[in-house]
Each structure stands twice: as structure tokens, then as C-alpha cells.
Symmetry: C2
Subunit: 214 residues, 2 copies
Amino acid sequence: MTETKTYSLQDILSMDKVPRLNMINAASGFKSACLIGTLSEGGVENLAVFNSVVHIGSNPPLLGFILRPVTVPRHTYQNILETGWYTINHIGESIYKKAHRTSGKYREDISEFEHCGLTPQYTDTCKAPYVLESAIKIGLTFEEEHTVKANGTKLIVGAVRELMLPEEAIEGDGFIDLETAGTLAISGLDSYHKTTRLSREDYVRIPSEKSRPG
Amino acid sequence: MTETKTYSLQDILSMDKVPRLNMINAASGFKSACLIGTLSEGGVENLAVFNSVVHIGSNPPLLGFILRPVTVPRHTYQNILETGWYTINHIGESIYKKAHRTSGKYREDISEFEHCGLTPQYTDTCKAPYVLESAIKIGLTFEEEHTVKANGTKLIVGAVRELMLPEEAIEGDGFIDLETAGTLAISGLDSYHKTTRLSREDYVRIPSEKSRPG
């Protein structure tokens, strides 16, 4: 067995900035690999990689993501507030290198779609651009935001308005097989991973329980 | 190429409950596979599987997780408020079936550690139980909570006080190789996945930029 290394809070605070960023970002486990697409009021498309999309609710369908403090301009955030719309697009193996390049701090008038070689796609429903090359695409409207007092990070909550899925990835019980769709996972800030399913586990029913919770 | 199936909001709202739960939970992409350990004021240990741990900040180190509405008793939440402490423990292949069994709604006086065959572990620092069988363990204190107005779901934010890592998984730049640590990913509500790293991508530097952001 390998040795365990224990870090106290003081040890973590004493680390240099980049190792601390790498370590604490990886400590949260595997994360979603998504591109968030938006459009500014002035018509400039924006695309940015995010690894913090979380499920908030199914009825109504709500998703959240974490946005770093807006002490510097965040085009994704500005555009969401301006237009009320954004898209979440899963990152697959064929586009992850392009997707990661959207993490650069480009000027506001530059479209990351164009700069990184990805294709905007529009539907009648959604006022923000999807990523044509993504297999799974979600169109959302801004619902609410919460600001973490400790450091100014925000939880952005959106309502799902449109969901596009590859038909072959949808299983009989509604589950989406993300491996068939080619979706990747992220760890840390910069590590991209394919996955292999071990199993789907049964719903755990305790004898006294009457019905499945919502 | 496969066909794309498009769901409107109305289509999603018209679905039966379980398919909708499965679909919207999977739509958020891959997620962390963690067990949260707590202790009640009365001394009963609690352990529950969570797939929603997210990075909130590195300096100071903060992690968040999403808690479903507290319209029914949530022992994890009660215990965190009572004691101020909790642990996040990564789920590896050797324990994921036991870990998933903690999702059952057990009575308050039942320890999921005992019921599911996992071992509580204490340190001098942390007042909540870790999972001995987990390779990566994080001890946290409760920092703040935010309640999503749309459905009552909560974001719980905690401050990292202690971090235990397998020494062989720590890379030179602080990054934790979650595959060496054996950490799994979750998709949907019940699907567990191993991962294979494709690559770590370089930090994207734009010519005009002076220094790496925090």
C-alpha cells in the first residue's frame, strides 16, 4: 500500500499558488466537461470551457454551474445577464483540445468559436449559440444566482428549455449513456478523461419505504 | 451519424418522473463520486453518497456540494449544522457497490458505515468520520449555505481543514492523479465509471497576458 500524505490547512495555505490550484481543483473529484455558449447584446458569440455543471433539479429541470469571482470581466456572465440565455454543450474526444483553448482570456470582441475552430448552431427556441460538434446540447434561461460570501464565487442556476441528445445514447429508462455520446470527464484544471462504465447500480429500497423519492 | 432527438421543456415536463430524473441527472455530464461522512450530536455516524462536489476556491480552499431540498430529514445536513464538521471521501472501484448502498433511506439511529460495511476513521483534527477505505479524504468545516429559490435545493460550502492523499498520486505541480488514486466518476443517479486520461492540456496563454490568473 502507498503512503498517505496529510496536509493541514496551514500546509495548503503555505503552498505556492499553482500547486495549490492544481491540488484543490483535483481534490473535488471528476467533473463535467462542458462548453458554455453565449451571445452578447452586441452580437458577439462567446464560448468557454466549464468543469462545474451540477444537477439542481429535474421537475422543473434545472442545472447549475460555478462561476469564478467577477472581479475581472467574465464574458459568459455578462452575456447571460444581457440576453437571459446560454447553452451547455458536452465535450467529446474529437473537440476537447479546441474546447480547452477557449480557456484563454480573449478580448471581448473575439469569438472563441471562430478562434478555436468550433461551429455555432442556432435553433428557433434558444437565443444563445450551441456547439454544432457537441453530441449533447442544452439550452437554458438564467434563473438565479448566489454569491459565496467567502470568496465571491457564484452559483448560476438555469432552467432547461431545450435538450438535444443522440438518439442511440438514450436508454429505455431515460438514462443517457454518456459513453455512447462520447462525453469526457475533467479532473483538476486541465486533465481530460475517457470513461468505462463499471455498472449501473440498483435503486436502494429499504423495506419500510413505500415509493421512490423525487 | 446518429439522429438527434430534441426535447422541448414541455416534452421534459410531460415525461414520467423516473425517466425525467434519469435524463436530467445524466444531462449534467460526469460527476464526482464521493461519500460524505458526519456525526450527529448524539454520536451516531452517518455516511451518504453524493455526486455533486464542486470546487469553489483554492485560497482559502473551499469545496461545495448540492443538497436536495430538506423537506424530508437529511441526516447529513442535520449533522453538519449540529457539529460544524463533515468529510468528503472519494469512491474507488473496491467500495463503490457498498458506497451506493448508503443511498437508501435508513433510520436516523442506523450507521451506514456499519450497515454498508465501511470503516469510520478519525483524526485529531476532524470531528467527523472519514472512510478508511477511501484513498482521498477531505475534512471540512461548514462555511455557508445558499438555497435555490426555484426548488429549495441547497449549495453547502465548506472550508478544507485537512486533506489526505496517497503520496504516489501527487504529481510535481500539485495535481492529483485521480486514476492512480482509483477515484471513480458517476453519471446520472446510479452509473459508476473508471477513467482513462487522454492528456493534460497546457495552460492557454494569450500574448497580451502578463501572469497566470488566480
